[in-house]
């Protein structure tokens, strides 16, 4: 069983915090891109595998003409064995989502929509460079529901100077959202946001305020039945993202498109180039993980998830690491049998802890 990721690197405009491979492109370029992407799928080495999840991410998959999405989906279906219960997600931007597109997505088998809501504060949405407002976001969620989508996720950003993320979550849950991803705003180098902050033209919350924000949100979501199953992901029972969990638990996945990543479930990671030229030239970056590197991944990913990791999965003996013992003693890590988890109180500082264990 594998997961499939399809990258759609196009957007109507670039948001100020975005450092992902995404571009504003014309129709011809888009055509060329998806033609190549379909050939990439056809030529893949793992055809006919059983597929448990498919995820169209971006960029903004909803901005491109639906025919491209149909074509890619059709190609996938032709070459892989999609399991009947497969989770099939498409990321949508409220402003580029409409009834026709939703109908088409539904018809093609998509059963999960992930909306890039980010905030329900209009000033903040404008600040981030998003093209939708609160009203439109809620309207599109409603529309998706009426088109038969039950599994709807929304992304929220933590750390914005204004707005109330708890209130936003409440409104989203009331409007039928079953899954929330809440990410702390990360200042990526080279982004307009980085420059604005440096020049003091913009302001965001301090680290402490952001963490307070996060903790309030966690508390509210848990109270409302959305369990935290990863540092930044919360879901009602039965609505956890299968696809994302594949990344975190070390299952195999295939990535198609610009900058997409694949993993064989063992020791090989392959990355597509994140510039078009190299991508079209068919270049791939292949990384053979050492035992130590794979151990690092297991620890790093496991400690971000509610399920933790199994020490038997590791090649090294983590029990002999004095830091590990120190963390166990102080309650930062929790160990039940062979399973090790991070005490949720320390999710905010997970890096510091993981660093000391790898």
């Amino acid at each position: 069983m594998i997961g499939i990721y399809v990258h759609v690197p196009f957007c109507n405009n670039k948001c100020i915090y975005c450092a992902f491979a995404s571009f504003v492109a014309d129709k011809r370029e888009q055509q060329k891109y998806f033609d190549h992407l379909c050939r990439e799928i056809e030529n893949c080495d793992f055809l006919d595998r059983e597929v448990a999840s498919i995820y169209f991410g971006g960029g903004t998959p909803s901005v491109v003409d639906t025919e491209h999405i149909i074509k890619v989906m059709t190609t996938i279906k032709q070459h892989f064995n999609i399991l009947p219960k497969a989770e099939i997600t498409i990321e949508c931007n409220p402003c580029s989502t409409d009834k026709e597109k939703l109908k088409a997505y539904k018809q093609m088998g998509f059963n999960r929509i992930s909306f890039g809501v980010q905030s329900l504060d209009d000033d903040m949405l404008k600040f981030l460079g998003r093209r939708h407002d609160r009203c439109m976001a809620l309207e599109k969620i409603k529309l998706a529901k009426s088109e038969g989508f039950d599994n709807i996720s929304a992304d929220l950003i933590l750390g914005l100077k204004k707005g109330d993320v708890v209130h936003d979550a409440q409104v989203l849950i009331e409007s039928g959202v079953k899954h929330i991803s809440a990410y702390m705003l990360q200042i990526e180098s080279g982004t307009p946001l980085e420059k604005m902050l440096k020049n003091k033209e913009a302001e965001i919350k301090t680290d402490d305020e952001t963490v307070d924000n996060y903790q309030n949100l966690v508390e509210f979501l848990q109270k409302n039945g959305l369990k935290r199953y990863e540092i930044s992901n919360f879901a009602l029972k039965g609505y956890q993202s299968k696809h994302n969990k594949a990344y975190w638990t070390g299952r195999a996945y295939l990535g198609f498109g610009l900058g997409a990543h694949s993993f064989d479930g063992d020791k090989t990671r392959v990355a597509n180039p994140s510039n078009f030229e190299d991508y079209y030239a068919g270049k791939k970056m292949i990384e053979k993980l050492t035992d130590a590197e794979r151990d690092e991944e297991i620890i790093m990913l496991g400690l971000r998830c509610e399920v933790g990791f199994d020490i038997n999965q590791l090649k090294k003996n983590i029990l002999s690491n004095p830091k590990f013992q120190q963390y166990l003693k102080s309650g930062i890590l929790q160990k039940e049998g062979k399973i090790v988890k991070l005490n949720p109180d320390f999710y905010g500082v997970s890096n510091t802890i993981i660093e000391n264990l790898i």
Binding site: S181, M184, D207, M300, N351
Partner: protein, 599 residues
């Protein structure tokens, strides 16, 4: 005995143009080809040139013809810093004359006077030279007047030169011959040589820089170092031209070098007298002393596993620097390292910089300390140069700290701030002399421990750099000193302990705690920082717990990027030291010395 030899040195306050004049003299006597000229030839070490100071001495032999007579001029360089006063006095002892340079725009400064006194003590003929006459701010007459009044030397005939532009250098050369007496001495008497410096040569071993006073020395001679009692066979003698040039022999009046397969420079003591084993001179030259380090600090590799490399580096540096002392030290906080002794702060700075630059080892140095004498209640006497070895207060009867006699030259408008500073530094006022309307000489007795703290920086800032400063050691005095400990998360951090005066302990403790709060990054737990004397907490700050250190999502399954980010972050923390449960950056250990920066 060659009456046409002149042995001389150049003395000056820092930046008054000593090395530039030396370069010009060599240029005019064709002692060095133009193409080999490199600004300030004598300061050969990269660091020396950068800091504008001379650390290792390099004598040079020049040939000069005046009115048809050939002369040999031996220029013996002197180190230009207070840390090396004894070395200066020994190189002066090798000369008959000294050129005293005074910057025409600056006039007489603290080191001008200190060096002039050293030269007078050594009975040298002094030739004043006014330099930098090309500067618009040059006050030639004022400078001459200051020399006459402050030092008491006639300066009417002093050559006025611009070493930079090469103006009137010939006058200086002429004066060297006419002013300075030729060496006295008897080449047939038993051998008597003064060692005024040494350096390490990979092939020749430790090479002695010498001045022959009596007798003749040549390869094959059996020689005796009179103070240390060591005996060697001479393998080579020679002169500096300015590179080493072997000669058949060196005789009375000459300056040069002796190589004798001496294993290391520690066996060669500056100030020692060399004579022949079989025909010894009756009396050794006066003034010999063993130079003791006065400033101490711990030196540790940032990466603890590089202890052995650090040891190698120190051994190599010591090859060429007998005054550097070190012994292994174990710190709970910093692991294995070395307690090093230096002649002064500059010496400390030079050595630590060379370890980092030439040996590429990142090091942590702990706060410099002086050496205290401790009289214990049981009558025992200890010398303590490491705060951690100070006995507990109940075992101490008295502590004595090293003092210095300091002399500060300043324009009168800064007298007030300087007196305030000296008072803050527990100084005792000794004297004040008006040299002229623009210059005052202040004399204070100050604890050395206060000088190595932040005295230079503060003097510079209260006088906008217009004051100059010089000092000499002046014995020990009893003082009310206490050990100030720093506790991180309740655990004493030995590498941060300091010995301070009782009266300033509270202020220092609070300032250190505040500074550490700024420097130590937040940890998983709240970290209290406490300053304590014995069991008494005198200051407390708290570093609140780290709240946020988390990566964003791994987009599209890009796990590698995330792992690399974490690895990079982990790498960045290698400069951190773990003290108990607290990680502290290596800068923290020295930063506690620079508390005034941010106040």
């Amino acid at each position: 005995m060659n009456k046409n030899i002149r042995n001389f040195c150049i003395i000056a306050h820092i930046d008054h143009g000593k090395s530039t004049l030396a370069d010009r003299l060599m240029e005019q006597t064709n002692s060095v080809a133009k193409r080999d000229m490199q600004a300030q030839l004598l300061d050969s070490m990269e660091l020396e040139r950068e800091k504008g100071i001379t650390i290792k001495l390099t004598p040079t032999r020049m040939n000069y013809n005046l009115n048809g007579t050939d002369y040999v001029l031996n220029l013996i360089d002197t180190p230009g810093h207070v840390d090396f006063t004894y070395e200066v006095s020994r190189s002066l002892a090798a000369c008959e004359g000294a050129i005293l340079i005074v910057d025409a725009s600056q006039g007489v400064e603290a080191q001008t006077l200190a060096n002039a006194y050293l030269a007078l003590d050594a009975n040298l003929e002094i030739l004043p030279v006014i330099n930098k006459i090309d500067l618009p701010s040059a006050r030639i007459d004022d400078a001459k007047e200051e020399i006459e009044r402050v030092i008491g030397l006639p300066a009417d005939d002093a050559p006025c030169i611009s070493a930079k532009e090469g103006t009137n250098i010939d006058k200086v050369l002429e004066k060297i011959v006419t002013c300075f007496p030729p060496p006295k001495g008897d080449e047939n008497a038993p051998l008597k040589c003064l060692i005024f410096d040494s350096f390490y040569d990979n092939f020749k071993g430790a090479v002695c820089l010498i001045r022959v006073f009596d007798g003749t020395v040549k390869a094959g001679d059996q020689i005796l170092f009179m103070q240390t009692g060591r005996k060697y066979d001479v393998t080579e003698v020679g002169i500096f031209n300015p590179k080493m040039q072997p000669k058949d022999e060196l005789s009375a009046g000459e300056v040069g070098y002796i190589a004798a397969s001496i294993k290391n420079v520690s066996d060669v003591h500056v100030g020692d007298t060399i004579t022949h084993v079989n025909r010894q001179t009756k009396q050794a030259l006066p003034g010999y002393k063993v130079v003791q380090p006065v400033v101490f600090c711990g030196v540790f590799a940032v990466d603890g596993s590089r202890y052995n490399e650090l040891k190698e580096a120190l051994l190599k540096l010591k090859l060429n620097d007998a005054s550097l002392q070190f012994s292994p030290e174990v710190s709970q906080a910093l692991g294995f390292g070395f307690r090093c002794g230096f002649l002064g702060l500059l010496h400390l700075e030079i050595i630590t910089e060379r370890i980092e630059r030439e040996f590429n080892i990142d090091i942590i140095t702990t706060a410099p300390s002086v050496s205290y004498k401790v009289l214990k209640t049981n009558g025992e006497t200890l010398e303590i140069s490491n705060p951690t070895s100070l006995p507990s207060p109940v075992e101490i009867d008295k502590i004595f700290e090293p003092m210095v006699a300091a002399s500060i030259f300043t324009p009168p408008s800064y007298v007030g701030p300087i007196m305030q500073l000296c008072q803050d530094k527990r100084g005792t006022y000794k004297n004040m002399t008006y040299l002229d309307a623009n210059r005052v000489r202040l004399e204070y007795l100050l604890p050395l421990g206060e000088i190595i703290y932040d005295f230079f920086d503060r003097l510079k800032s209260v006088t906008k750099g217009y004051a100059s400063f010089d000092y000499e050691l002046a014995g020990f005095e009893p003082s009310k000193l206490v050990k100030l400990d720093i506790l991180l998360n309740g655990e004493k951090c030995d590498a941060l302990s300091l010995i301070v005066h009782e009266d300033s302990a509270f202020v220092r403790g609070r300032a250190i705690a505040e500074k550490l709060k700024k420097i130590i990054p937040r940890q998983l737990f709240e970290v209290p920082i406490q300053a304590a004397i014995g069991n008494k907490i005198i200051a407390r700050e708290t570093i609140s717990a780290l709240r946020k250190d988390v990566l964003a999502k791994c987009y599209g399954g890009d796990v590698t990027r995330k792992r690399k980010l974490l690895e990079k972050q982990k790498e960045g923390k290698k400069r951190m030291r773990q003290i108990g449960s607290v990680e502290i950056p290596s800068e923290a250990f020295l930063s506690i010395l620079k508390l005034d920066d941010e106040q």
